[in-house]
Symmetry: D3
Amino acid sequence: MAMLAGAALVQAATGEIAKDADLGGAEMHAEVTGLVEYLAEDDAHGLELAREVVAGLGWQGCAAAPVEYHPPKYPAEELAGAIPADYRKPYDMRELAARIVDGSVLRDFKPGYGAAMVCLQAHIMGQPVGILGNNGPIDPDGATKATHFLQLMDQADTPVIFLGNTTGYMVGTDYERAGMIKHGSKMIQAVTNLRVPKISLYTGASFGAGNYGMCGHAFGADFLFTWPNAMTGVMGGAQAALTMEQVARRAAARKGIEVDEARLAKQRAGITAHFDSQSDAFFTSRRMLDMGMIDPRDSRAVIGFCLATCMEARRRVLNPNAFGVGRA
Amino acid sequence: MAMLAGAALVQAATGEIAKDADLGGAEMHAEVTGLVEYLAEDDAHGLELAREVVAGLGWQGCAAAPVEYHPPKYPAEELAGAIPADYRKPYDMRELAARIVDGSVLRDFKPGYGAAMVCLQAHIMGQPVGILGNNGPIDPDGATKATHFLQLMDQADTPVIFLGNTTGYMVGTDYERAGMIKHGSKMIQAVTNLRVPKISLYTGASFGAGNYGMCGHAFGADFLFTWPNAMTGVMGGAQAALTMEQVARRAAARKGIEVDEARLAKQRAGITAHFDSQSDAFFTSRRMLDMGMIDPRDSRAVIGFCLATCMEARRRVLNPNAFGVGRA
Amino acid sequence: MAMLAGAALVQAATGEIAKDADLGGAEMHAEVTGLVEYLAEDDAHGLELAREVVAGLGWQGCAAAPVEYHPPKYPAEELAGAIPADYRKPYDMRELAARIVDGSVLRDFKPGYGAAMVCLQAHIMGQPVGILGNNGPIDPDGATKATHFLQLMDQADTPVIFLGNTTGYMVGTDYERAGMIKHGSKMIQAVTNLRVPKISLYTGASFGAGNYGMCGHAFGADFLFTWPNAMTGVMGGAQAALTMEQVARRAAARKGIEVDEARLAKQRAGITAHFDSQSDAFFTSRRMLDMGMIDPRDSRAVIGFCLATCMEARRRVLNPNAFGVGRA
Amino acid sequence: MAMLAGAALVQAATGEIAKDADLGGAEMHAEVTGLVEYLAEDDAHGLELAREVVAGLGWQGCAAAPVEYHPPKYPAEELAGAIPADYRKPYDMRELAARIVDGSVLRDFKPGYGAAMVCLQAHIMGQPVGILGNNGPIDPDGATKATHFLQLMDQADTPVIFLGNTTGYMVGTDYERAGMIKHGSKMIQAVTNLRVPKISLYTGASFGAGNYGMCGHAFGADFLFTWPNAMTGVMGGAQAALTMEQVARRAAARKGIEVDEARLAKQRAGITAHFDSQSDAFFTSRRMLDMGMIDPRDSRAVIGFCLATCMEARRRVLNPNAFGVGRA
Amino acid sequence: MAMLAGAALVQAATGEIAKDADLGGAEMHAEVTGLVEYLAEDDAHGLELAREVVAGLGWQGCAAAPVEYHPPKYPAEELAGAIPADYRKPYDMRELAARIVDGSVLRDFKPGYGAAMVCLQAHIMGQPVGILGNNGPIDPDGATKATHFLQLMDQADTPVIFLGNTTGYMVGTDYERAGMIKHGSKMIQAVTNLRVPKISLYTGASFGAGNYGMCGHAFGADFLFTWPNAMTGVMGGAQAALTMEQVARRAAARKGIEVDEARLAKQRAGITAHFDSQSDAFFTSRRMLDMGMIDPRDSRAVIGFCLATCMEARRRVLNPNAFGVGRA
Amino acid sequence: MAMLAGAALVQAATGEIAKDADLGGAEMHAEVTGLVEYLAEDDAHGLELAREVVAGLGWQGCAAAPVEYHPPKYPAEELAGAIPADYRKPYDMRELAARIVDGSVLRDFKPGYGAAMVCLQAHIMGQPVGILGNNGPIDPDGATKATHFLQLMDQADTPVIFLGNTTGYMVGTDYERAGMIKHGSKMIQAVTNLRVPKISLYTGASFGAGNYGMCGHAFGADFLFTWPNAMTGVMGGAQAALTMEQVARRAAARKGIEVDEARLAKQRAGITAHFDSQSDAFFTSRRMLDMGMIDPRDSRAVIGFCLATCMEARRRVLNPNAFGVGRA
């Protein structure tokens, strides 16, 4: 059914007693207005027609030629055990990457500079990729290094994989004076402007601006998945609770009154529980803040398939409508 | 203040006891990070600095050369009385336009075809314009005519003024079969793709898809104002009430039960009141669905000023950033 | 010989007695003016040189990679019998198309709307194509549908095959009022502006503006062939004769005189014979109004070869002259 | 009246008895098909409407700002007497140019090289122009010089005036060996490719390829006029007659027979008369081979007006149709 | 004279005894090769011809419309006394700028960040400009600030004035570790890539890479002038002498021998004198390392004239050579 | 080590006693400034890292598909004996080319025009090429022909091989008058502007402007090699000596004194020896005026490898840096 107004509205507006099928049924549009191109008998037939139409576009030759590659040396099964469930326990992202890339071969980019920001070059199913991972919060050096790395990937037409596990950017006087804001924003600018495929995976914490820098929900990843253990939010529950406690204590001190410790403890527990429950991957994924939850052991298979899809999509081109039809 | 984390969060996260001014005060950014270009002493000073910066861009020469023109022959004061307050009483849009354009000179485009869709050519303060106005609901012929007119205005680089007063597109079996959907969508496509300045005015009813076709809130008008008597919404209150009544009656008929007339009457009254209260210009304008309410008698002055602003804005150009700075 | 003036003219103009070979013989140009690049001994040698030059352009790699496909299910031999020799007897173009395309697989585009204008999607030797065919005169709906179909083919970079058999666009009060002129001209605009390869075949009648809409002689087909039974002209002989008879009868009625029936009958017979003799494919093809006559049974082979040629030609590119040579 | 088929044809084709006004009258199109934009009451009204539409395009500001200039020092009246009526009597083109350009100030370009090809720089009513004129047949040096001059005018965005009076390019062994063909074709290429306005005037002889090189009928002049004394053709009558005589004598010599002198004399007279009659400006102008005949004394006024028209036309721009309307 | 080889070489190479005038004299080229466009009788005539040619290009309308502005509040005469002759005595560049710009009105860009690098916005004779000046050596912050400032000027299409007085970029462990190299190179990249007019003035020291950053000799300034007191070189003499002394002392220490203090003192004096003599503005300007020496009191007049020249030059456009001439 | 100033300069300039490793050592840049991407342990490791980085660019698919071809019919070994060691003894360049190209198949371009300038079309290892060679000095016709040939190669995207053996362009009155300067400069313009790969080989003399025309050192050859017997210089020694002798004799004659023949003879001998020693391939190649000396018998292998390299390099593309990073 496709009409400007259905039978009820038509009767209300004009008094005409009409049938919906006459106003905008599929047969009517197929024969009278010409708004139907292919008339399907039912849903199954509709899907079949859609497949035929796409098959007729001549895109069969757009997939990449097959290349040879090696599987990772380290088994994907270890991903389930090797990564700590608690995001507060850091681990080396190279361990994760080695279970995803061809031959477990990684090239480390500026490993000694901004060391907690891990930048790696590797191949996945024969396709060169750049990988960004976190071994801790991002400091000014790390943000600068990530920016440079992303510019290079963009120039070399190499897709970027984000393996996010970060509590955010560094805070405090020293880091502010070192220009944390401007260096962090450079990294976010780079993520935003990348022209190469971006594939993002939530593998642990993804808090605050760190979520932006590691290509979170709003940053245009071509594909974005989450692991079951991931936590996403403005900040962690304990940190949020402490922050609000500080706010309360300072307000009390300014007013010269004493704090109600019991009330504070209750507030702290409440905030922690509230934040943690809404940061949970099962909560956030259900709200469509990613494209689905995957088993960590499937990471290589999922990323490899998404990469091939992205690269093929670039070769499928439709011409823009080039000539006007004068008389409307 | 501009920092990644304020004092409270910093203490919570790291234990450091810091001052906000040290973390991100204006003086700090002016001297340490370099993120401040001009340090203002207070708001007034800040505005003064902003004016100086813009004045330094050298855009003084971008306004159009002054041209001579005649005022309308018919006085703007008549606008207050000539236009019926009740949108259900139609009037000839040419009466309105004649009180806005230079010398009240109008050229009528295809007046006998799709006659309720009024397309006029005229000048406002010396600037050629195309004007779209409604003398009733838009039918397939009117939509086709409007599309053609908008294509021509776009080709001739002529701004378009929308004087909207419409209860929408025509509904009913005859109009659906005549392709109301496709002809209406052509008109909306044209409105969306116009490259010339668009200035829109709500002068009466602006309901449903008619709001789209007459360049309503979401269709990228450069300027969009409302008169106090205007009504904006999915449809008028009485119409909505009748439609819902029909839905109820049909459902009852399908189920073979009788309708509760008293309940229906109450529902009708409620819907009418609810719709009408939310369609009111004072209600919609307060919710930022336009850029402000104007006295109908100021229409020419406001449109003329907006036109000059649009034309000058096109001559003010900033270069894109043209050279990369290699090391981020 | 290539000279501005031959020996006779030279002597007349200047008195000089010269030999043509000295004025512009091949040897002279090869050695003195440098206007000869490769000096051929005779025609055969010239063709051999031309082949060598083209072979040296390095275009061997421009042909498409071979793909697999099925022959039509229905034999081409049936084309000779299935299509009526008299263009006044209509037949279903799908019968013809099914004997040309891969596996006889056709996808019908808007079959119930403007039904006499047949729009099909299929493959020929693995190449996706759009096909336009006529099951009768083109009405406003049919012209609208063909325009839309051609826009889509252009966007999808799909070549279009025109299988023309039409006595033209519909005439008469009803069709005129339905906008036959504007809808027909939209279709002709689309045919003119197509950027994809166009291959056209005259398979029956091709009269009047129908010849334009079905990509006739002047509409830039990459290849245009005719079947032996085709008729091409402003209109059919019988129709022309009747039209002229009507003109005569109306003129007589206006002047209040009686018509000379014997003279009218003679005129009718003369016009019919004259039109039909000049519409005949053997007459029109001899006058170079197409690129040759083909046996209907060869249609698939000819179209397939032309398609491959068009697609390869797009990959053969010559650089424009990019640097000026200062002193002429 | 605008219809696909008139009443007579409709009756012949379909039997329907219709009126032309119903099939395609102006009122019908204004109200039913929408193909009429502005309905004129009569011719005078139509012209008035057309003027209004063009006036509404906002092109009033496209004319050039007025500049000051001097009239020629030498009076235009002398043009009537100074130029010989017989094209075989050469004269100095500078005499002609001095009666057309501002202040009679001419700058001579390479006057000593290819001296019969006159290239001048000057102003006409304040607009810089380049002028090409002939003081005799064009030789290789003259063609080379003209080519270089045209390239420079094109680069400097300066319009070119062609004052043609030439019997063509030089012929004979010496000129052929000097590459007359290639140097002449360079000049014709340059004339063809000029992007600046071209205004051409036939002032005497314009024969053969000289007509091409001096921007004759087929070479895209924006404006092309002729003087009454001009002669245009493949060659002059006497020259054509002599050429044919030579052909006859040579054929006779080859066959070993004697020529019939009387017949030859008659043929010579016939050819001369025939050529001369068809070369005459009154003959050629009547056949639309130029845009009109002008009084030599009006040359400056005509060229100046045409120049202003060309320069203003460049500033009047229409946007191409930029957005498609999806559903045809 | 313009020839490939003169008479002497010709005789040596071929034995031919020729005259230079015949080989490549002006008359020969004017009449034989066509390489002379306008033959001048002497130098004065040549200049006159050149002026006529340029006047014929129609560029009279390219100068900017005159605007009103105020002279500086502080007199230019003070420039002679206010600026110390010894470049080692720093002074505030704002004192200098205030004697050059309209109304002595300066807007300071990031004055507290990288404070020795002075970035100012102002107008000169009505034209908006950005000004770069040095109040000491350039540190990483100062280089970063200058880069940002130059990017903004480029985007706003605002010309940049360089008032150079710098001993270079900061050296030493701290500055190196702060990335002096990369921040300095960014500034030099920005200077190199600017698309707006650049006008440079040597007003004191201009040493080493500081010369690059402040748009010295090789960095494409549209105009570059020097004051008489300026010093330009790799470094100052005393600094160079000390550097070489250190080299000698270290070499001696490595070899375990004693230094010859008398010899070192002599070397020191020699190097100082040598460097200083070659850094002197009278020495460097004589070697064409700038476009001339100006009186400091003329700085505003010179810069204002150069700015107007640059802005007018942008409006004078020559078309690229657009059509090839096939046969070379 | 990479720093703005080393330890010695730092101490001289600031008194600080620093270590070079702290100022700019690799470890420092790897960890502090981030200027090191990959820290190599030694040279071998550095090369290994570089190979890995390039291998990661995904350029494996850029080499051309292999094609079949025939070796030359004539053996390369004959090159060692067939070419005279003394450049004054000319030989036919076709003999040389036939030992380099596939199947020894050559197509001669305008062989009879400007005959000493040899232009050939052929294939090398399956790749179409154009070849320029010298059978003597270049005259105006030869230069014109070479220009045309180079334009065609550029349009057909065909690489050009220069086999240089020329004492330069023709000199003397006749050649000057024939426009040697302009025709020679056209050829040099064409060589300069070629967009196709250029590979150059010094096979004998390469003197004066002939070195420019045959794509010598400064003309941007992608690859440029020399044979051991080649001589490169402004002119040959004997010619230079004679030229200087003429200068002396003329000076003496002008002053009316006698020449000192003994001194002249000594000067002649000295100049000859000096020029010849500096023209020798061993002398010039050592000074990097080419990219290396090759054995003539390796010419085909070297050129074939270079061609494949050039064609592959065109398919390896880096994106330009497309997004700015706002805060420098």
